[in-house]
Symmetry: D2
Subunit: 348 residues, 4 copies
């Protein structure tokens, strides 16, 4: 941390800053210039934050230098791979993982059909929501445990491990008893009780970016999960809120390389919910693969025009074939191979 004093700060203002830092067990290095004095702080930065130095007289600015997250930071840590399910499907460097399935679980038939479409397109993980956080209380909220049971049946049938959302700390144990990976959605990106609860399960977690979270806030949310001893976290960029309205959200594709430089956690992209329109899903998927994402998570539906939730962007037919083709051809161009279950992988 660096404390910048105002032009008219007095010697006693400066002394107060130094004193407070040293009282907290830190070191303060004073650098005097013609017009300004700057104090460099060394020690436990988080502790310094609570010192409230900005409120002291003569302090103009306090600039944080270290990153505020530790467990998920890229410093001193190579990129991680997260393994999902009993078959250990990897998400991480060197592989590209297609996660696909219906936005919402509606019926056993619809879910199975969607899972088979997903698998045929190259997916090795199945997504599907049984608990849906909806902006309006009048919209369909998901099937709940009945939906989880359907997902488990489809897993038994297809062998695809399940990624599914949880929205309430009270449901975490129940959802974890069915799911292979727990998803925390954009509206819960700073629901710290939920983050701690999914951390406690020890199951892999897919952490969507809050629609107005900065990358730093997102990594701090991941730190809440990691603090519970759970480093099986996959970040998911799904678009941020901006002034542009032709797309539902603005996919922040730059977040992929930025996160990869700041954190060791894998990162996937959701091209379905960011664009909100079917004709954007394949182009955005191609961009995500080319920029080096560790995977994508895509909505598919056997009958998009009958889908209860988000049918407007679910893939089927020709679009899905285009996606399958991109998922086959592009990852090798960026040094990645398909993420097969570890046990099925050919010996080196």
């Amino acid at each position: 941390m660096v404390v910048v004093m105002t032009a008219d700060a007095t010697a006693s203002d400066l002394a107060s800053v130094v004193e407070r830092v040293e009282a907290a067990g830190g070191e303060a290095f004073v650098s005097r210039g013609e017009s300004r004095t700057v104090v460099g702080l060394v020690g436990d930065v988080t502790g310094f934050h609570d010192l409230n130095l900005r409120a002291l007289p003569g302090v103009m600015e306090v600039v944080r230098v270290s990153t505020p997250y530790k467990l998920v930071s890229r410093e001193h840590h190579d990129p991680s791979t997260v393994y999902v399910g009993t078959t250990r499907v990897p998400i991480g460097p060197g592989t590209f993982t297609l996660i696909a399935g219906p936005c919402a679980v509606e019926t056993p038939e619809q879910t199975l059909a969607a899972a088979q479409m997903a698998a045929a397109a190259g997916a090795t993980l199945l997504r599907g929501g049984a608990y849906k956080p909806r902006t309006s209380p009048y919209a369909f909220q998901g099937l709940g445990e009945a939906g989880l049971a359907i997902l488990a049946d489809v897993r038994a049938e297809t062998g695809l491990p399940i990624v599914t959302e949880v929205v309430d700390p009270n449901d975490v144990d129940l959802v974890a008893s069915y799911a292979d990976m727990l998803q925390v959605g954009t509206r819960n990106a700073q629901n710290f009780s939920l983050l701690a609860a999914v951390g406690d399960t020890g199951k892999p977690v897919m952490l969507k970016r809050g629609m107005s979270s900065t990358i730093e806030e997102w990594l701090l949310a991941a730190e809440y999960v990691a603090q519970r001893g759970n480093l099986g976290i996959v970040l998911c960029e799904r678009g941020i809120r901006t002034f542009e309205t032709t797309t539902r959200n603005t996919l922040d594709i730059s977040a992929v390389p930025v996160c990869q430089s700041l954190s060791h956690l894998p990162i996937v992209v959701d091209p379905s919910h960011s664009g909100g329109r079917r004709n954007l899903v394949v182009p955005l998927s191609r961009a995500a693969i080319a920029i080096g994402a560790d995977g994508i998570i895509v909505d598919v539906h056997p009958h998009p025009d009958a889908a209860i939730v988000d049918g407007a962007h679910a893939l089927e037919g020709g679009d899905l074939r285009d996606l399958a083709s991109a998922v086959r051809q592009l990852p090798p161009m960026v040094g990645r191979r398909p993420a097969l279950p570890t046990e099925r992988r050919p010996a080196a």
Copy 2:
């Protein structure tokens, strides 16, 4: 709802739209023009939303016409007053309510001192946080139930009803057993489990706007509370996330008259957290009063430079006297009188 067909939509495309609407029990009025056909829908709009009309061939756009919220809508409903505490302090039309207190409860002494400062400045409700949602897991998270007990003691001493935040559905009953009004913070603005839980308590709720919530999303969040039979909701504008960085958030002062035209719920302004700087609190408070807010909620602290949380904007001394003066002088200019407890109010 209005469905706009593409220029090349066929008669059969149009028939499909009409059929689907009528199958759902609605009426469809077709209006043919030279270049476009438009279909007006009448009936249960929420149901229409799930019809997924946008996915039908030949449909260019679906425009919602009715507001999606009902219980909190201003249509057919005069502006409400919400009464807080056993002494029934009003928040609503005709009055102006000053809510003040420490950002976080730290000690009995600090809380009592802050409450007395608040009361001296004209506050008739006490704010104070025992559960603090913090961006970093390494920051102070509040005293929990010990903090609630301190607040209750200070209420007994000062007579000020308590407004305090709750962040986890599991804590709602505990917090409600101490508090007079439950606050839902900006990070939980779309935590629907929490909204339902506070709705169930029947206690008044202060619902802060999500930092990236549109006004419509905010009113839909209020609808989640209202659906549990609880209309004792007060909206709180606290700044939104924008590109401007000189202030912590951008106070959307226009939201006050906009909400008052769309909803019958009272609305207050938080000038402390939006600006994030002490010298902005009094000017923003004056703006809030002048534009017709039903109240403001302000951080005060006996020793801001020692505050554990958000000391950078807590008021004391001269600033607090300026606030007191604004709270005395400005409300009458917009037809409001101070919000005294109902029982202490002079007879008409």
Copy 3:
């Protein structure tokens, strides 16, 4: 400026930074800590900017400490008053100036009627556009010089000095030959040729904030005008672009006190174009007065529903009377009196 080195910067990395700064005539103060080294820079900050220190190996961050604008800065400069027209109508501390008139000049009759309405409501400056920057090339672009002539006639009739927009550097001399104050609109907020050209005229300038300009960028735009020797600049906050769509733009009311703390220039608020809806104009005007703006600029029109441009928010009738009443009653509450022409002001 402060340069923060990475954790693994070498002694030679550090030496390069110091060398480059000293070569540019600056001083570099090195402060070594356990985990980081920080270099404080003293001297000509603008020059340092061009040193491209961020590109040197071992440099993690370069933090600017001084403000990048000089002539318009509040440092070493009391708040300014700008005088407009031959009658010297003031805009600045201690007074409150109502600027009103039609969005676009349409006819002599409409302009005169609007000016008379404005004057009756307390306006002492007349606004009106002859050159309109329109998002669509198919929309009405203004009357051009014919509109300026109408404004001049109405000034002769009413005595109100004229504020009018200029959009092309080539028109600046022509517009300046008619106008008392030149307005630069939001779309030209970083049209540096235009800024220099209006600066050269020596006429007072009203500089609207760019719809996505940070306050710092806005003050730097003002610096472009000031650099031509023209300090007669009035800032105008008119709303910024955000995700909220119920208002045309989001009025950043906090910008008023923020600018007053950073710059000596007066600042006014445009409540008409920010909200974009008639029923928001009076509430936003009250907020602007209460927060301490030096004035407001408001659209009025004798027949809003026949207005060619922006009729949706032009005031008339009851709304205008409400505005007049706010302009009479509120400024004294914040220590301001109406901004009469200097020559008509009663002797002290």
Copy 4:
């Protein structure tokens, strides 16, 4: 256009709407529902815009249905190719164009070296700025005509046509006398005088998106150029302003397919200025190619750490080789071949 009436609109309110539309030569189709009446408008939509229907009593909302731009619209128009320079380098469907060069022209040596680096990496067009719009008046503003002369010399030496920015309508003829393609920058995205002036030259125009322009506003800006009879327009996505600060701007990669669906104009991506950091340029370039952009425009510099402007993201060495490799390998995956000068292209 569709006009939605309020629930309590009277028959006379409705009649006024119909009358006004018909008086303007349009047709109005009335559709009555139980709770609302909707009026569909057919005819000249732009004319309707000026009818100010929103201001009429009983009107709740006016929804535009047709696109407001015509000449640049994709309706009735296949995707265009724009040819640049005497050698007719194409930008458009089927090809991928690499435009590269220094951000600012500094010296003949630096410009030539950058051009040779660009050509070696596969560039067939040279970028370079002689007029730089800078946020601060104290920053380097470009060499002006001397810079243009350097660019012309380098073109003679390398055969690469020149793309260069113009910032003032008065400079347009001069710049056009040197340049093969005129660039309009983000700060001038709504400088309508400049847009008209570059349109008048008949030279190809590269139109950068305004940093807060919606896609619709951007296409309307292009319409200003097109209206002067100049359809040689290439759109350039260069990042938009959002709340995220780890990147200089947020590259809106979705804008590529969205623009391609709305407009026939080619679109390129600027990965240098959007990210603002060297390590993002190659990943963003890969994403741009994969999503189907018609080209990219990239900063290169022989000595980035000595660059006067934007050295922090200029490419050289290994990064430039990575870019060259992506430009060779990826376009064929999306059905594109390198954009060679037409005259050098092998016969079919």
